[in-house]
C-alpha cells in the first residue's frame, strides 16, 4: 500500500471536570501517517500540547486491540467513528483524507457523566451487572464442562451476546440514551445457557430496575445501537430481554 501522510483539523471537546461547562477547541495536527490508529494520532496531538504547555486531552483507552471496551470517542457523528464493527482504537487514519476536519465528542448521556474531556464515567454499567449479570455457583470442585449438554445454536447465540465489551457505544448512539442493547446482551448471554436458568427471573427484573435507576432511557427499537456496535450485538437480544422481563413479571411472587 502506498504510504501517505495527511494534515488534519481537529475539533475536540474540552471539559475540565463534571462541574464545569465544556467547549470545542480547534487543533491542527500535521504529517499524520495513514497507517496510524486514531488514538496514535491523539498521542501525537497530546505530545504537541505538552510542548506548547497546554493540558493534554484526556481520553479512555487500554488494550488498543479492540477487545477491552475502554475507548469511547464519538467521531464525526458516530460512536467509534466511520467504520463498521470497529472500535476507536482500531480505527485507522486511512479512513480520513488530507485536510479533513474531524469532530470528536465524548459519549453524551446523563448516566455517563463526563470525567474530563473525552472521558466519561461508565460505572453505571458495572452497577447494572452487579444487580444481576452473574450466576451463583457453590464452591467445591469445578464440574466438567462437557457434563452439561448445551444445544449448539444456543451456545453460539449466547457467545454472540457475550461478545459485548461494555463500551457504551449503544448508549451514545441511542437518541434515548438507553442501555438496553448492553443489558440485553448480558441477559441473553446467561438466559440462553442452563447455568443462567436458576436466576433468570430475578436477574432481568433487577437489572432493568437498576438501569432505570441509573437514568438511562427506554428503548424505542430504532436500531441505532445495533448499527454502531463494535461487536455487532443483535437488536433481537433486546426483544429477548423484553420476553424475559414479561414472563418474569407474570410469575413474580407479589
Amino acid at each position: 500500500m502506498e504510504h501517505n501522510t495527511m494534515n488534519l483539523n481537529l475539533k475536540v471537546w474540552r471539559q475540565k471536570n463534571n462541574n464545569t461547562k465544556g467547549e470545542f477547541k480547534l487543533y491542527r495536527v500535521e504529517n499524520i501517517s495513514a497507517e496510524m490508529s486514531f488514538l496514535e494520532m491523539f498521542d501525537v496531538l497530546n505530545e504537541q500540547l505538552v510542548v506548547t504547555g497546554e493540558e493534554p486531552v484526556a481520553f479512555d483507552h487500554d488494550c488498543r486491540e479492540g477487545i477491552c471496551g475502554m475507548c469511547s470517542m464519538y467521531i464525526n457523528g458516530k460512536p467509534h467513528g466511520p467504520w463498521q464493527a470497529n472500535t476507536t482504537c482500531q480505527l485507522h487514519m486511512r479512513a480520513f483524507k488530507d485536510g479533513d476536519t474531524i469532530v470528536v465528542e465524548p459519549w453524551r448521556a446523563n448516566a455517563f457523566p463526563v470525567v474530563k474531556d473525552l472521558m466519561v464515567d461508565r460505572s453505571a454499567f458495572d452497577r447494572i451487572i452487579q444487580a444481576g449479570g452473574y450466576i451463583s455457583v457453590n464452591t467445591g470442585n469445578a464440574v466438567d464442562g462437557n457434563a452439561l449438554p448445551i444445544n449448539k445454536k444456543d451456545a453460539d447465540d449466547s457467545f454472540a451476546a457475550a461478545m459485548c465489551i461494555g463500551c457504551g457505544a449503544c448508549v451514545a448512539a441511542c437518541k434515548n440514551s438507553s442501555a438496553m442493547l448492553f443489558m440485553s446482551a448480558k441477559v441473553s448471554h446467561l438466559a440462553l445457557l442452563p447455568q443462567g436458568d436458576p436466576e433468570r427471573n430475578s436477574r432481568v427484573l433487577n437489572m432493568v430496575a437498576q438501569m432505570d435507576k441509573e437514568g438511562f432511557g427506554a428503548c424505542t427499537n430504532t436500531g441505532a445501537c445495533e448499527a454502531t456496535c463494535p461487536k455487532e450485538i443483535s437488536l433481537s437480544n433486546i426483544a429477548r430481554l423484553n420476553q424475559e422481563y414479561l414472563s418474569a413479571s407474570l410469575v413474580a411472587d407479589k
Binding site: Y74, K78, G223
Partner: protein, 234 residues
C-alpha cells in the same frame, strides 16, 4: 415486583405502548374495511352509498360496538399520553446534545415517532370534528337523513361527499394518512419486538407485514377522499 413497578419501568411503559398500538392497528383494519364499502358505488350506479350508510348505522347503533368504542378511546388516550410522557422522559436523559447527530444508524421515521404521532393527533381532531362529532352530537351536514326499508339513518355518505369536495381537506387528510403510514412502518414491528418476539422466523415476517400494512392502509385511506374529490364515486 408489583404490577405498579412493572408498568412504571422503562420496559413496562413500552409494553403499554406496544399493546395499545397493536389494538389500534386492529381498529384501523376495521375502520378501513367498513369505509371501503363506499367503493360499492363503483359497481352499482343505483347504490349511492347505501351499503356504507347501513354499515355506519350499524356501527353507531349497536350497543356492543358502542361499548367497544369506549375501550378504543381509552386505548387512544393511553397511547397518546404514554407516548408523550416517554418522549419527554427519553429526551431528558441527554442534557448536553451532540454537535454532529448520528443519523445513519436508524430511519428518520423511527426517530420521529413523537412528531408523526403529533401530526396524526392534529389530523384526528379535525377528522373527529368532521364525522364523529357531527354524527353523534351536532348533526352538522346531516340535516337530511336517508331511509332504507323504513329505517331512518344519517346520510354519512353524503357528508363524506360534501367534506371531500374541497382540495385543502383532501391535502390535510393525505398528510395525516402518510404520517400514519410512517408511524406504522416503525410502530408495527417495534410493538412486536417490545412484546418479546425475537425469533428470526417471526421478526422477518413481521417486518415485511409491517411495511406492507403501512403502505396498504395509507393507500386505502387516501383513496377514499381522492375518489370523492375526483368524482369517481358519489
Amino acid at each position: 415486583m408489583t404490577w405498579k413497578q412493572v408498568f412504571t419501568s422503562s420496559v413496562g411503559k413500552k409494553l403499554v405502548m406496544g399493546l395499545t398500538g397493536i389494538s389500534l392497528v386492529l381498529f384501523l383494519v376495521v375502520h378501513a374495511s367498513i369505509n371501503a364499502t363506499v367503493f360499492a358505488d363503483l359497481f352499482n350506479s343505483e347504490e349511492n352509498g347505501e351499503m356504507f350508510n347501513k354499515a355506519a348505522h350499524f356501527m353507531g347503533s349497536t350497543v356492543l360496538i358502542r361499548i367497544m368504542e369506549i375501550g378504543l378511546f381509552g386505548g387512544i388516550i393511553l397511547h397518546i399520553a404514554q407516548g408523550y410522557l416517554l418522549s419527554l422522559e427519553n429526551q431528558q436523559k441527554r442534557s448536553v446534545g451532540y454537535a454532529v447527530a448520528y443519523k445513519d444508524g436508524s430511519k428518520w421515521y423511527s426517530r420521529s415517532m413523537g412528531l408523526l404521532g403529533t401530526i396524526i393527533l392534529l389530523f384526528l381532531v379535525l377528522h373527529l370534528y368532521h364525522f364523529w362529532v357531527s354524527a353523534r352530537f351536532t348533526n352538522k351536514g346531516l340535516e337530511e337523513s336517508v331511509s332504507y326499508n323504513g329505517v331512518e339513518m344519517h346520510n354519512m355518505f353524503g357528508l363524506m361527499k360534501a367534506t371531500f369536495s374541497e382540495w385543502w381537506i383532501f391535502l390535510v387528510y393525505s398528510l395525516g394518512c402518510i404520517s400514519l403510514g410512517y408511524h406504522l412502518a416503525h410502530g408495527f414491528q417495534s410493538a412486536f419486538r417490545t412484546l418479546g418476539v425475537h425469533n428470526k422466523r417471526y421478526t422477518t415476517m413481521l417486518i415485511s407485514i409491517g411495511y406492507g400494512f403501512s403502505v396498504f392502509i395509507t393507500l386505502v385511506f387516501i383513496l377514499m377522499p381522492l375518489s370523492f374529490l375526483l368524482g369517481w364515486i358519489g
